[in-house]
């Protein structure tokens, strides 16, 4: 095992952590595990690919376009998922709606980039540096730093801002929150938008390094979900720890044993953790449905 594998693991981990955070952001007010969340990551990667690799317009443009497009996708996704869930009333509505949304976005990306294997733009900062004999790519370091910043920022937002407190109240009981005058409907839309932007930024950062094919959204959702469960759905800190564990487990096992055993290790860990600690390693139980 090379020390690079650990850096790779931390990098992949920060991407998964961002997805895990986004999943938790949507889950808290809605009690919905959004299977379409990974598709936003593909959006980020696709925008980066389109603007940086094809249009040669630079990363600043890509970032702006990503954020705007992701916000729109978040609003759209809220409509696509929450409307059927409200109208249906079935206890399985959430999973069917989110899977359907995932299906729709996946096929759209497939149609748009059917001749592209990997959405891979040039890195934001090319090259890397060496520290104590371990080579680190700038892009990897950037992703890790951004992930940490987003986590800290969201944590602060949750605790300090009025909206953050409203979101936490809604997470507790959306019915009571309505009675307290909290605009739950707006909170839900905002949660979808914030989650989408965070996920898209993760895709933007990951695209130059990780293999992202147009149809791989679901696998990122599942890895992000694994991270969320390990960390305990809810806290940004849990998402961060969970993401890092998943990323490290994945790359380290892969570099030691090789092949797709990394995936196996991650999913086996997910199964074991769910069985032994039904509420995650660090979190409160995910009481829903």
């Amino acid at each position: 095992m090379s020390p690079e594998a650990i850096i790779d693991g931390l990098f992949a981990g920060s991407v998964y952590a961002l997805v895990a955070l986004a999943l938790a952001i949507v889950f808290q007010p809605t009690r919905i595990m959004n299977f379409a969340q990974g598709e936003v990551l593909i959006l980020g990667a696709a925008v980066a690919y389109q603007i940086v690799a094809l249009e040669k317009m630079g990363w600043a443009v890509a970032l702006v376009v990503t954020i705007v497009a992701a916000a729109l996708m978040g609003v759209l996704m809220e409509r696509m998922i929450m409307l059927p869930v409200r109208l249906s009333g079935s206890r399985y509505a959430w999973i069917i709606a989110t899977l359907a949304a995932a299906l729709i976005f996946q096929s759209l990306f497939n149609l748009g980039y059917f001749d592209v294997d990997a959405l891979r733009p040039d890195p934001v900062i090319a090259g890397g540096f060496e520290i104590a004999g371990v080579s680190v790519e700038w892009q990897e370091l950037l992703a890790i730093v951004v992930a940490l910043a987003v986590m800290a920022g969201y944590d602060l937002f949750l605790r300090r801002s009025v909206y953050g407190r409203a979101i936490r109240a809604t997470a507790h009981s959306s019915d009571t929150s309505v009675l307290m005058g909290i605009p739950v409907q707006r909170i839900v839309v905002i949660s979808f938008v914030i989650a989408a932007v965070i996920t898209a930024v993760a895709g933007l950062l990951a695209a130059p390094v990780i293999f992202i094919a147009p149809a791989t959204g679901l696998i990122f959702t599942i890895k992000g979900f694994t991270a969320a469960v390990i960390g305990g759905v809810g806290s940004p800190r849990g998402a961060l720890i969970g993401g890092m564990i998943v990323g490290l487990l994945d790359t380290v096992v892969r570099s030691v044993v090789g092949g797709t055993v990394g995936n196996f290790a991650v999913f086996a860990a997910l199964a074991v953790i769910l069985i032994v600690f039904p509420s995650g390693l660090f979190g409160k139980p995910m009481e829903a449905h």
Binding site: G89, Y92, L99, L218, L270, L274, P278
Partner: protein, 623 residues
């Protein structure tokens, strides 16, 4: 305005409710079914005659039938068992591997392969269920998702058996020494679909299915009727696994190959779409839904790359427009709903029917149910704090006390719904088992404070669910409708109707439980509890919200049960009701017994007065 609008609606309603309409509908439906079956049977001949590409069209129908088999399995698990399964495409993959291995690697018979596939399906499903027994709804889904991914990864890695990423190919069924023609195999697939459908129908309509549905609605209620939630789930999910394995075997045989991609959730989504489009928790829904998708996919095959997009949009639209699927929405509509009997004014029978249980051989000196030194603390709250209680057979025993005094917790301790911190529970002199469903099996049945009816099934089915403990047939007997099953089922239905008649609910037997009034629901719950043939019946605030007629009916039922030697425990707030009915009363306050004895003694007890009204001297002082 309102009258002008409602008038045509009423006319339409009367048309749909006439006997003629229902007769015509039955005939029309029957004809449709016969035509569909005939077309499916003749399909190879039809395609042979009309098309140059017969095998292509045969293949489409065969593939759809295989998908329908898997969707039936998914329906059993999610629709009837309430178990969110994301494992189904993985089960199909595992089943496919089993057949492919037997046929290609071991050069065995394809029939042997099918058997192996069913076995593997059962094994994987049972294993996943056993490790996730503690998991609730959402987590169960996630564990099945992880299990699905693991099955795929095993398929990718275990090359010697599964052929790795490439998979196994050359899987073909043989007839004697010759390869079986696709036409013959078409009928094999069709036969398997019929088999899967019959298994589904017979299981769902038997006690096995009723038990699974009871667990789906509430595992607590199921336990109160002596149903073991773990066993019910394990049984149903294993059957699902077997059916899914069968579909995997047919998949491999039909297409001639199997590879890990078959198990991907992306491929599994089509089964969800089919299930929800057709109607979850309906018998024919899965078949209709999958058939619909097959036709749709065929229609847009020239634009095949838009297929997923169309399916996704279709699914979202279907959820909004027909949330219960084609079949469910039809059944709930005016034109499609079943006729239910008109509620008659029922005169209650004077005679007590024999089905009301009797306890005669009980030793009169031994309490039917006894709690010794029961203690239950929730953190700092001493909900039950050293309670001794004896409930004698052939009595009505009241437990009263102010709100929050620990009455319901006491009952939950006695029936093992709560793990007690210390103390002992004895049933007829023997220590009670730990699990709630085993307490129920020992003859102690409870009715919950909040109504726990199975709202989505009929009144009769609710009572039948209560009889699950007396059913001795196995799931196989139910599937094959063995003579023993038929005999028991007939007897059960007759008994259930008698019980309903005794409670004045017989004319509503085929109504949905959710359409009853509050009082009728409470009464039905008691009837359902009586159907378990208890020796001790615990009623938690049964009189709340009842009209005086309903109260009389309830009191009459309690007296009848007492005469028959049962012990009835009443937890009540309605003092008149309790005082008029009970032989003995225990008064609980702050988790402790403050008084016990006959109604008169309790009524005059200073401790009870204090608990309910405050300190008597203080009352006098303020007065």
């Amino acid at each position: 305005m309102a009258t002008a609008e409602s008038a045509p609606a009423e006319r339409a309603g009367s048309m749909f409710d006439t006997e003629l309409y229902h007769r015509v509908r039955t005939v029309a439906m029957g004809t449709l079914v016969v035509i569909s079956i005939a077309v499916l049977l003749m399909w190879p001949a039809i395609t042979d005659y009309y098309s140059y590409n017969a095998s292509y069209y045969n293949g489409i129908v065969a593939s759809a039938a295989i998908s329908a088999i898997l969707t039936i399995s998914l329906n059993l698990s999610m629709g009837y068992g309430g178990m969110l399964s994301m494992l189904h495409s993985g089960l199909q993959l595992a089943g496919g591997y089993a057949t492919a291995y037997v046929v290609v690697k071991a050069s065995g018979s394809w029939l042997l392969g099918v058997v192996a596939s069913v076995g593997v399906g059962v094994l994987v499903a049972a294993l996943v269920l056993l490790v996730s027994l503690r998991a609730t709804y959402l987590y169960f889904g996630m564990i099945t998702l992880a299990a699905n991914l693991i099955v795929i990864e095993i398929g990718r890695e275990w090359e010697s058996v599964t052929g790795g990423i490439v998979g196994l190919s050359g899987v073909a069924p043989k007839l004697g020494d010759e390869p079986m023609s696709k036409q013959v195999f078409y009928y094999v697939v069709l036969g398997a679909l019929v088999l899967a459908y019959i298994v589904q129908r017979n299981i769902v309509r038997s006690g096995v299915g009723r038990a699974a549905m009871a667990v789906r609605e509430s595992s607590d209620t199921a336990s109160a009727m002596g149903i073991s939630p773990a066993r019910a789930k394990l049984l149903l999910f294993s059957i699902c696994g077997g059916i899914a394995g069968l579909s995997g075997a047919l998949y491999a045989l039909q297409l001639g190959f199997i590879n890990p991609d078959v198990g991907l959730l992306d491929n599994g989504i089509i089964f969800f779409v089919g299930l929800f489009l057709g109607g979850i928790s309906t018998l024919v829904g899965p078949v209709i839904g999958v058939g619909f998708i097959a036709v749709l996919v065929e229609l847009i095959k020239d634009q095949a790359r838009y297929t997923t997009l169309v399916l996704g949009v279709l699914l979202l639209l279907a959820m909004m427009v027909i949330p219960r699927g084609v079949v469910g929405t039809w059944k709930a509509s005016r034109a499609g709903r079943d006729r239910v009997s008109d509620p008659g004014d029922e005169t209650l029978p004077e005679e007590v029917p024999d089905v009301v249980p009797e306890v005669r051989d009980a030793d009169p000196g031994v309490p039917a149910l006894e709690g010794i030194g029961l203690v239950k603390h929730f953190g700092g709250v001493h909900a039950v704090d050293g309670v001794d209680i004896k409930i004698m057979p052939g009595t009505v025993h009241g437990i009263i006390g102010p709100n929050g005094s620990g009455k319901s917790t006491l009952v939950s301790c006695l029936t093992r719904y709560h793990r007690i911190d210390s103390g002992k529970v004895m049933i007829f002199g023997e220590e009670a088992a730990q699990a709630p469903h085993r307490v129920a099996a020992a003859g102690v049945t409870r009715v919950f404070q909040v109504p726990h009816l199975f709202e989505r099934v009929s009144v009769l089915d609710n009572v039948l669910t209560g009889m699950r403990m007396q059913e001795t047939y196995t799931w196989l007997g139910a599937t094959l409708r063995s003579p023993a099953y038929r005999r028991q089922d007939r007897a059960e239905r007759a008994e259930a109707l008698e019980l309903l008649a005794f409670a004045g609910l017989a004319s509503r037997a085929d109504w949905l439980a959710s359409s009853l009034s509050h009082g009728q629901k409470r009464l039905l719950e008691v009837v359902r509890a009586v159907a378990t043939r208890p020796k001790v019946l615990i009623l938690d605030e049964p009189a709340t919200g009842l009209t005086s007629d309903e109260l009389d009916a309830l009191a009459r039922l309690c007296r009848t049960l007492r005469e028959r030697g049962l012990a009835v425990v009443l937890i009540e707030h309605n003092v008149d009701f309790v005082m008029g009915l009970c032989d003995e009363i225990t008064v609980v306050e702050s988790g402790k017994v403050i008084e016990r004895g006959d109604p008169e003694r309790v009524q005059n007890s200073p401790a009870v007065l204090e608990a309910y009204l405050g300190h008597p001297e203080l009352i006098e002082e303020t007065a």
